[in-house]
């Protein structure tokens, strides 16, 4: 949206006030303005198309779009709702965040403040490499390695935490939301780590020395100066990761065995996510079925927007105390 009001026009206008307009300036202004407008037109076109097709589908829907557990979008009359998908998407992404963010912050701190340079540099490369693995490869690894190896952990969780209901496990292949979440956690680890590491690295030396001179240990230095400084950066990093987790398609589709049910247990197979459902259903869907999938995609888009807005609020709330005005 910043392309809307580029600061660029100020300079060419000064030029024309003197009666001189440079050709290069004119061309560049036209080019940058054109790119900005093209982006807006493209966004508007996508938004109009999606809303229109979604509206068609929701109009034809015989069930409650927001609360129904069914997905019979190709039937006549179509009956479908996004409750299961919204639940699965949000829950799997949240679990992924809970698993990934602490580990990512730990790795980032290790690289930026603990590891000797000899170790920190190669470790950084490995993390970068992890980010470069295609998601379908993660999916295959998840299906062939993670699924069979998680059954042991699930049996253990069921034994000690089964009474909560959340961790009840009936045996069988571990193709559940929790497995998807573990995979998502591994997938978002690099981005959260990298962004956090960059933020921690920029934490002002001045404040670290202030803490040291007061007799702080290394961990206390990190607690007093590095973490408060990096707080908003870590939140942004987590949101980037959450954005990826919410929208991840192939990896989830490969490890999850979907069903249109919301279960208390996270470990038993079933459930679904927006992106996984679209990938699984798009090929065989009829016209209304496709529109229904588009409508579900719109909901995913709205959820992502809300999450980002919430993150911005959290960051803005304590601006007065942020490291930015140091």
């Amino acid at each position: 949206m910043a392309t809307d009001t580029p600061p660029a026009p100020a300079t060419p206008e000064q030029g024309s006030a003197r009666g001189v307009t440079h050709r290069g300036d004119r061309m560049f202004r036209g080019l940058s303005r054109g790119s900005g407008i093209a982006l807006l037109v493209l966004m508007a076109a996508i938004a109009v198309f999606l809303s229109w097709r979604a509206a068609l589908a929701i109009g034809a829907d015989e069930a409650n779009f927001l609360t129904s557990f069914e997905w019979d979008a190709n039937a006549d009359p179509p009956r479908f709702g996004i409750a299961v998908l919204a639940f699965g998407t949000v829950v799997s992404s949240l679990i992924a965040m809970v698993l990934a963010v602490p580990v990512a912050v730990g790795i980032a701190l290790f690289i930026s403040h603990y590891a000797p340079r000899r170790l920190a540099t190669p470790l950084g490369y490995v993390i970068d490499l992890l980010a470069a693995v295609p998601s379908i490869v993660y999916g295959l690894w998840g299906a062939l390695f993670l699924v069979p190896h998680l059954t042991g952990l699930y049996t253990w969780l069921d034994e000690y935490l089964g009474w909560t209901g959340l961790f009840a496990y009936d045996g069988g292949p571990a193709r559940s939301l929790f497995t998807a979440a573990v995979l998502l956690a591994i997938m978002i680890l690099p981005i959260v780590t990298n962004v956090s590491r960059e933020v921690f690295r920029q934490s002002p030396k001045m404040q670290e020395e202030a803490a040291l001179a007061l007799g702080a240990t290394r961990w206390e230095v990190i607690r007093m100066s590095v973490l408060p400084f990096g707080r908003s950066g870590v939140i942004s990093a987590s949101m980037l990761g959450l954005g990826r987790a919410l929208g991840e398609t192939m990896a989830v589709a490969t490890v999850l065995s979907p069903s249109f049910l919301i279960k208390a247990s996270l470990l038993n197979p079933g459930g679904g996510t927006f992106a996984q459902n679209i990938a699984a259903g798009f090929k065989e869907a009829g016209s209304t079925g496709r529109d229904a999938l588009i409508a579900s995609g719109l909901v995913l888009f709205v959820i992502t927007l809300l999450v980002n807005g919430a993150a911005r609020l959290i960051i803005a709330r304590r601006k007065e105390y942020s490291g930015a005005n140091a």
Binding site: P204, M206, Q207, E209, A210, A211, L212, A213, L214, G215, A216, T217, E220, M224, S225, P228, F229, R231, E320, Y321, S322, G323, N325, A326
Partner: protein, 258 residues
């Protein structure tokens, strides 16, 4: 509270580079000792060896001996963290913790030491801010962030933070170089007050400041760029500025130095 510092044969290194060479001196308790000398002569490095901050820098290493009364700061088994709790430091640029309030900034060191009783903290915060001549300016906004203060106030906040833990020694690394003349005067007045209780070492580029605030002055110099810094002489400030025993000191003081 104040203790004497005895340095003998101290050299400091950055990796393979010898930054200061074979320095020996005594810093008297309850007095102000000023370090002067051209840029790069190692006076800040030397200051940072006195509370073991030098070794925090990558490649930082020290040879020699620093005695605080009868305790060897570089002795085996001495924890640098506890050394830094005994010897406070104020830096060139004011560096209050931006995420903390004024109150929390002053209390930061005490909280590290594990003193958490709210009433005690209140007392120490008030006493330290009064000690740093800042209390009257901030007593109504203790919960506001420290970064909202002026530069001079921030520097006095940093002094309050350093004296809140009642150190034996207070090291100041060009504490006024980022401040305007009025704030500088406030800090100098404060130094004069503080020396009744603390051993103070101050690095300064401002020779008038050294003459105004210190009892004893040490002059550092280096033979050439890339050569290690050395202590040329240390003496009563009055003597250094009127009748120094080394010609190089006189040249530097009178501005005849390159």
């Amino acid at each position: 509270m104040a203790k004497r510092i005895d340095v003998s044969g101290l050299s400091a290194f950055y990796g393979g580079f010898r930054a200061i060479d074979d320095i020996s001196m005594t810093v008297e308790p309850r007095s102000v000792t000023a370090f002067i000398g051209p840029s790069g002569c190692g006076k800040s490095t030397f200051l940072r060896t006195l509370n073991r901050m030098h070794e925090v820098t990558a490649g930082g290493r020290v040879e020699g001996k620093v005695m605080l009364d009868n305790e060897d700061l570089y002795g085996s088994g001495v924890d640098p963290v506890s050394v830094r709790r005994t010897i406070g430091m104020v830096f060139q640029r004011p560096n209050p913790f931006p995420t903390m309030s004024i109150y929390d900034n002053v209390a930061a060191g005490l909280k590290l030491n594990g003193d958490h009783k709210k009433k005690d903290l209140d007392e120490v915060v008030e006493r330290s801010l009064k000690g740093a001549n800042l209390w009257n300016e901030v007593k109504d906004r203790l919960n506001k962030p420290g970064s909202g203060l002026s530069g001079g106030q921030q520097q006095r906040l940093c002094i309050a933070r350093a004296i809140a833990v009642e150190p034996q020694v207070l090291l100041m690394d060009e504490p006024c170089s980022a401040l305007d003349p009025i704030s500088t005067l406030a800090i100098e007045d404060l130094i004069a007050d503080l020396k009744a209780q603390y051993t103070i070492v101050i690095v300064t580029h401002n020779m008038q400041q050294a003459a105004r605030v210190s009892d004893r002055t040490a002059f550092f110099n280096l033979a050439e760029v890339g050569a290690p810094g050395k202590l040329v002489e240390i003496d009563e400030t009055e003597r250094i500025f009127s009748n120094p025993s080394v010609q190089a000191t006189e040249d530097y003081i009178s501005g005849r130095f390159g």
